[in-house]
């Protein structure tokens, strides 16, 4: 068993299914069991990918001039 912090709410959580989990890791917890470790690198990459979509949208909408002045 271990303690998990859900944004300030601390709960006792069974960590049996994540033998490699470390203090500071993020995990998906279901009915009191941590079942999956969140891969932070992947999470950051995914968000960066989403932001690209956003920038694409902005490009289309605002016709931002390119940085090198062309």
């Amino acid at each position: 068993m271990g303690l998990a912090d859900f944004g300030g709410v601390v709960a006792e959580v069974c960590l049996e299914y994540l033998p490699d989990i470390h203090v500071g890791d993020y995990a998906i917890v279901h009915v009191g069991f941590a079942i999956s470790r969140i891969d932070e690198d992947v999470a950051l990459r995914t968000l960066a990918h989403f932001r690209e979509l956003e920038i694409l949208k902005a490009d289309v909408a605002e016709q931002i001039p390119s940085v090198d002045g062309h």
């Binding site: 859900f6 300030g8 601390v10 709960a11 009191g32």
Partner: protein, 388 residues
């Protein structure tokens, strides 16, 4: 808790006061001696009279109307709630009433645990009743308290609760003017239940009520939602969680009085207790046959409450509040009303959360941050942790 829109009725003044009864214990023949003894000991001794032993418990006899009943009154309730009207020990409290309408409300409190972060059952029983009066536009003047005690309750805890009630009543400036005590067999109660009845005066000319809610009104929330319910849920045990969530348990009459003083044209108010704002908004929308539109991102929720709800799969909109109210004012007054609320310590996180519309009568619609909408449904019952 009473969530009926007609909580505060306006009965005939005289009959209302006539039907009030003092504690049963006041009628018992052998009460004469004990109060005398207490009186000879002097009033000051009432403040610190610990005449019972540390481990003494409530017994069936405490509810029997005999000496022990009297001791309960003299040693626990009277010192805690000492005031001139209670001191008269009449069957009914006789109150001088200035001109105006009498408002009256009653509520039972059965919360487990009895002590929780931010409050306790006794404090709650005072504030809750005061709030029911205040949101009806009444100025609270007096409350009664009926206690149902379970055999085995520690007298020291009872004393503490009585003191909490007295302190809460003094804080809000109303007197606990009459009361009653009953004891039930061990196993038939939950330690202690409290019923409070409150009366208040609605000054002449004050016109606040559901009938005044109209399309175009702004809906304000006086602060964050869900604090009380989640504090109780965490304190209740059973859930393997710990949090610093504190109940919002507080009296609202001052905050409401500040709106009145500022000349805000209040159309209606409601304290969203059990069932949370989902329940209160649905009840009101249904009663007035108008639609409500709530901007979800405007509804204030404390981060900890949000996290706890998230974790347990509970909708914070369905969670109880004990120190907040929904306010309906004309749209033109909404910004000014918001400023008044935010200037008071109990209204710091107040927000304009929505508006009243002609469309979809009886239905509460939530506008999401994505520009989409959903129907906010009446909660079905207890908020329960879900698995899917």
């Amino acid at each position: 808790m009473n969530e009926n829109p007609e909580t505060a009725s306006t009965p005939d003044t005289k009959s209302n006061l006539d039907t009030k009864s003092a504690p049963d214990t006041a009628n018992t023949p052998d009460t004469a001696n004990t109060p005398d003894t207490a009186r000879t000991a002097g009033l000051s001794s009432w403040q610190c009279a610990i005449l019972f032993s540390e481990n003494e418990r409530v017994s069936m006899t405490h509810g029997g109307g005999g000496k022990l009943s009297q001791r309960l009154v003299d040693e626990i309730f009277f010192p805690a709630m000492e005031n001139s009207i209670l001191h008269r020990k009449l069957d009914a409290a006789l109150l001088d009433c200035p001109n105006g309408t009498i408002a009256m409300t009653t509520d039972s409190y059965v919360v487990t645990p009895r002590f929780f972060p931010g409050g306790n059952i006794a404090k709650l029983s005072v504030y809750g009743t005061i709030n029911d009066l205040a949101v009806s536009g009444a100025t609270p003047i007096a409350i009664s308290a009926a206690w149902i005690l379970e055999e085995g309750l520690l007298l020291s805890e009872l004393k503490q609760l009585a003191e909490e009630m007295g302190a809460a009543a003094r804080e809000v400036g109303v007197a606990v003017v009459t009361g009653d005590t009953k004891v039930v067999d061990r196993g038939r109660g939950d330690g202690c239940y409290i019923t409070t009845t409150g009366i208040g005066i609605v000054p002449p000319g004050r016109n606040i009520g559901l009938n005044r809610i109209c399309a175009g009104d702004a809906i304000l929330m006086s602060g964050t939602i869900g604090d009380h319910g989640m504090a109780i849920m965490a304190a209740r045990g059973g859930l393997p969680i710990s949090t610093a969530i504190v109940s919002d348990c507080a009296p609202l009459h001052e905050l409401i009085a500040s709106l009145v003083r500022a000349g805000i044209r209040i159309h209606a108010m409601r304290d969203p207790t059990r069932g949370g704002i989902s329940s209160a908004l649905n009840e009101l929308a249904n009663a007035v046959r108008l639609g409500f539109v709530i901007e979800e991102s405007c509804v204030p929720i404390a981060p900890l409450v949000r996290s706890a709800c998230e974790m347990l799969g509970i909708d914070p909109w369905t969670v109880a509040n004990e120190g907040k109210f929904l306010l309906f004012v004309p749209m033109a007054e909404s910004e000014r009303a918001l400023k008044v609320l935010q200037n008071h310590p109990l209204g710091q996180s107040a927000a304009i959360v929505g508006r009243v519309v002609q469309d979809h009568p009886g239905i509460v619609v939530g506008k999401t941050p994505y520009g989409t909408q959903r129907v906010v449904v009446m909660p079905t019952g207890d908020s329960l942790p879900r698995i899917c």
